[in-house]
Subunit: 309 residues, 2 copies
């Protein structure tokens, strides 16, 4: 049997890297010859996870055909999310939890997808079905992937199966998953290591609203205090940006990814449309927006309406 | 939860009908509300199976959207093999053993495919994984589907898993699967009920070979004697056909689907190229062709070469 590569999607998150390692481990136990690789370097959160469990980062590839004829995909199936030469190799296995789109094969294959919160939950089920034991370290990695994909079991994509699997993996890994998970998600948001300018530039978009240029930046965090303890410095950075780039209004949407609440910091003018958009008065240049997580769906539309009113 | 329909492909074979019944039964045990239907009437073999186990034929549909919003597919995924309005409903589950081609969804779904000989083998695994007991009658139906798809475990698509599952299902159903399977496959070929003209017309193609018009008919059987006990009548029918249609040569390829051997009956002239093509002399107008099953790949090419030599 010739060697196969196992990998997740481009711009890998924790699940893409961990599920490849876990599925490769399982397949090798079942007699295959596979190597888990990744289509990019680990992000901050994944680095924290790999460090914590003393696990090396996978080798990074962008093409598969120079090395192998056959591959196994985890956490994706759409060709544009895969290696650039996916059309030149045979996909023998897919383990996924996404929609199926643009994925075609010439031959029958092993395809296992379930609408669960995390593909590592599906891989866990495969271990059980095949009666293969999950080593403690791997359980810790898989646990991390589920915590990452489900935001500590709080995202709307979380299923009862994900919850049960996290609890079992925590037992195997001997990890207090709530304490560990919070530290892990916090490492992923990694606010403390970034400058105010980096924070307001990383994920920001500009909008023309009835003649005003409105900049809306979003900062994800697991603790809004980590953002607002730096409020004065963030306001100064936004003010500098307004002057340098000609923005009228700079909005910083700080989102707590654990409870889906946001707090909006407002720098510049006019501020009236902002208050009108959300039916609230600014206090200390801030507005509390419980239940708001989406700039595109929950912030820009009411703001646009208020500017146009 | 709204009701869902479960069905196999158009022109259903035994596996398409049985796997829909089996997967629907399993899903209902797991809490879903489903009905197994079919996209066509049962063929001769499937009628034999349903009669044998006293199971009604499923209701036939051609569209799903007038009845339901959601469907589950077994034994196929390609849209052109499915209901004509497949694009108007949501596919929530697929259980299959074919390539994936042209199948796209908007949402994550349950997709289970394995490269096994029969999709009923995959459904059997799902019963085991979900710890749901298979009733004796259903075991008999699933056994029939695997025998049908694997030609009694002899086709090159048969895997060790199919063999093990057939043996377990035979135990549950209390069936001698070899005796029963032979009777079932025989019912499917159903030669005795057809006239000689029907037999040589059902699957026949004409070829121009260096100026000669050669007609090649193929008859599948589980016992070549069932064909050749009617040799004289078949020769007469072929001779009539040659005169009526202007064929020079009529070849009847009788194939034993159980052991992949064929016997060729030759009516008309010239016969020399036929003998040359296969390196054998005709005896009683017949030629033995062990290992030959494919008209397209194993009969027409050497015959064409011999006519052109």
């Amino acid at each position: 049997m010739s060697k196969e590569l196992v990998f997740g999607h481009q711009n890998p998150d924790t699940d893409a890297i961990v599920a490849a390692k876990a599925f490769s481990y399982l397949e090798n136990k079942l007699g295959a010859d596979t190597e888990a690789v990744a289509l990019g370097e680990p992000n901050e959160e994944t680095k924290f996870v790999l460090d914590h469990f003393n696990e090396p980062a996978p080798r990074v590839i962008t093409k598969a055909a120079p090395e192998v004829d056959k591959v196994m995909l985890v956490d994706h199936n759409e060709p544009q999310q895969s290696v650039s030469d996916i059309a030149d190799v045979t996909v023998t296995h897919v383990v996924d939890h996404h929609r199926i789109a643009g994925f075609n094969t010439a031959q029958p294959l092993f395809y296992r997808a379930e609408p669960l919160g995390c593909v590592s939950t599906v891989v866990y089920k495969l271990f059980k079905e095949n009666h293969v034991e999950i080593p403690a370290k791997l359980a810790g990695l898989m646990l991390s992937a589920i915590i990452s994909d489900t935001l500590l079991l709080k995202s709307p994509t979380t299923t009862p199966t994900d919850v049960a699997v996290v609890k079992d993996l925590a037992k195997i890994a001997d990890v207090d998953y709530e304490t560990y998970g919070l530290a892990m998600l916090k490492a992923g948001t990694n606010i403390d290591s970034k400058s105010e300018k980096e924070l307001i530039d990383a994920d920001a978009k500009s909008f023309d609203m009835n003649g005003s240029t409105v900049r809306v930046a979003q900062i994800n965090t697991v603790d809004l205090d980590d953002v607002f303890k730096r409020q004065a410095a963030l306001e100064a950075a936004a003010k500098d940006e307004n002057q340098a780039e000609g923005y009228d209004l700079f909005l910083i949407l700080a989102t707590n990814i654990l409870n889906s609440d946001s707090e909006l910091l407002v720098v510049g003018a006019p501020t009236e449309p902002v208050e009108k958009a959300f039916g609230k008065k600014l206090a200390n240049n801030r507005l509390s927006l419980p239940g708001v997580v989406s700039r595109k769906k929950q912030v820009v539309p009411p703001l646009t309406d208020a500017f146009n009113a």
